[in-house]
Symmetry: C2
Subunit: 361 residues, 2 copies
């Protein structure tokens, strides 16, 4: 079977790496000259809205998927009708737009912080009056790793925030105090079967994910599974999805969804019976899903900007390296490390050893 992937970054790369043992051929479409996914997959080079290239991909592939939700709308529109595209258009339209996400969450009874669409300076002022401060103003699309966001703490911040990111469709979101950020990685097969990984606890710094750690049997897991299941059903979803939530102490508030494999699920490569990448491929290819049970105790550390010394990391028992083959650049995700151990205490000790080896980003 042949799988086309829009995007040849590290997510496309790890999808392709998971595909080879399954006997799946993969081609990434990516405008880069040598995107890191091209080391392990065929590469069609060009823009995501190059209709001729999309047709070539559709002719070659049995199914097309994507590694990021910000693909130009022309791409899935052109592909649809020529080749199955999973996850489907509604999932993509939802996942690429924060307002659509929050609106769908509300429709499905999934709790969220309060929010309002903002399309003008006046609308921003009205939204601030309604929601109160502090609040966060965000671009509806194209934001990632904390980009395209402005925090409003007092009334005087309103104009500055508008000046900074106004002029594109925005959303204002209530800032709710929370104890931790968690994510639910779930997968739904073409036959409707659903699987859920243990809830993962995420630690961000400056908007960039630093660490993710599965917390099997977390007291909030049942709620997160419930919410993710509603999304999967409502979107007739096929593939892996990530639902990011805030744990506000007494309840979870859904923050955003990503209709794709997700950084907070990278620990599943060694830390779960079947990785999120393999399960995404199984789903979009119409194959049975694999077990999502944890294997030992694990956690993932992102490598931001620069890589540590390979030998130092590999000297730590249970440390598994994932270099993406990307050049170093401040703030760029260039790899990750998953640490696995037989007990929580052992994991903690190993994690601490690995953290000390990571260069400042």
């Amino acid at each position: 079977m042949r799988v086309g992937i829009l995007g040849g970054g590290q997510l496309g790369r790890m999808l392709a790496l998971a595909g080879h043992p399954l006997g799946l051929e993969t081609t990434v479409l990516d405008p880069g000259e040598a995107p890191c996914g091209a080391a392990v997959a065929a590469h069609l080079r060009g823009e995501y809205d190059d209709l001729g290239l999309l047709r070539r991909l559709a002719e070659w592939a049995d199914v097309v998927t994507y590694e990021f939700e910000q693909v130009p709308e022309a791409a899935p529109a052109e592909l649809a009708g020529q080749v199955p595209v999973h996850p489907g258009p509604e999932a993509l339209a939802t996942g690429r737009d924060r307002l659509n996400e929050k609106t769908l969450f509300r429709e499905l009874g999934i709790p969220t912080a309060r929010f309002a669409a903002v399309d003008s300076r006046d609308a921003l002022k009205a939204a601030v009056a309604d929601i109160g401060l502090p609040a966060v103003l965000k671009t509806r699309t194209l934001g990632y790793d904390g980009k395209g966001q402005a925090v409003l703490r007092e009334d005087g911040d309103v104009d500055a925030a508008w000046n900074e990111i106004g002029g594109v469709p925005l959303i204002l979101e209530e800032v709710v105090p929370f104890e931790r950020e968690v994510s639910m990685i779930a997968v739904r097969g073409a036959d409707g079967a659903q699987r859920f990984y243990p809830l993962a606890e995420n630690h961000h710094e400056q908007g960039i994910l630093l660490e993710s750690r599965p917390r099997p049997a977390d007291p909030r897991e049942a709620d997160a599974v419930d919410y993710a299941a509603r999304l999967l059903e409502r979107l007739d979803y096929v593939g892996t999805v990530a639902l990011e939530l805030f744990d506000a102490g007494d309840r979870l508030l859904a923050n955003e969804m990503a209709p794709r494999v997700h950084n907070s699920g990278h620990w599943t490569i060694e830390g779960a019976e079947t990785s999120q990448f393999e399960n995404h491929l199984r789903a979009v290819c119409g194959l049975p899903l694999g077990a999502t049970d944890p294997v030992g105790h694990s956690a993932m550390l992102n490598l931001i900007g620069v890589l540590p010394e390979r030998a130092d990391v590999l000297a730590v028992p249970g440390a598994h390296l994932h270099f993406y083959g990307k050049d170093s650049r401040p703030g760029r995700k260039v790899g990750h490390i998953t640490v696995r151990a037989d007990s929580a205490a052992e994991l903690e000790g190993r994690l601490e050893r690995v953290r000390r080896l990571l260069p400042a980003a």
Copy 2:
């Protein structure tokens, strides 16, 4: 770091797949037009004794290794001096010749069945008189999967066996009744560190490996570790080695060694903390070795000749597919399946389900 691999079959392919997450670039040298390893590594196409090609590989690579021990002697000879080659020339000269293997085992005090070199019909008769029957006549080099062997049960078989495979250097080996075949996969780093996987129990049919199953804490493990350690030290070995042994009930008899990753170690991809492929790469690249502890209970089934239905296998919990991307052909290893479970009983049930799905070879 750049690793050159002589041979681009499934072993080269799985080495390359293990190399990408470590940030290692791999190039396979292989005469085939599209060997299955070339899907995940760069490919230099040509014969193994093509000196120009070997020089190109040596110039590109930081270290060269191989996926099979029958490389023409010209290859390591040409490479040596230009680039480090691991495992080294003595390991290769030993592993490619059954007489050299047995002679080294004897020298190191590792028990073997009785054996004698056979270079003529008369020498064969003398060896039979000395060793007795039954015995097996084997080519010293190039035999694999039961090829190049003739069993002698009575005196009348002597001429037939000679006529069948005589004319090349041979070895006659005593047939010793044994309870099971086992193998020790071990690895030694550039710094001399040694690691040993649990002893694996192997089931062959018609000379072809069908199943391998790690047996942690096997009563014979200590002996196998001792023997493998003697080999690693004596050969100043760097990389993964496989030592195949017969369990004769009261003792182990060494049968052969392979100076490379080995089919009976494929279960380590999911069934051990670090796979034999990753540990081979770590060793030849001078990196610290990874833990060889088992992860859950696992076993490997080879796929011979034809592939089963992907969806049927993936419906079995804990079943992990490894298709090699090779065309079907009777007797050809085209893939393997590793089954993992939390208990021995659960593993047995899953294995039985998978066995029923395998087409007759």
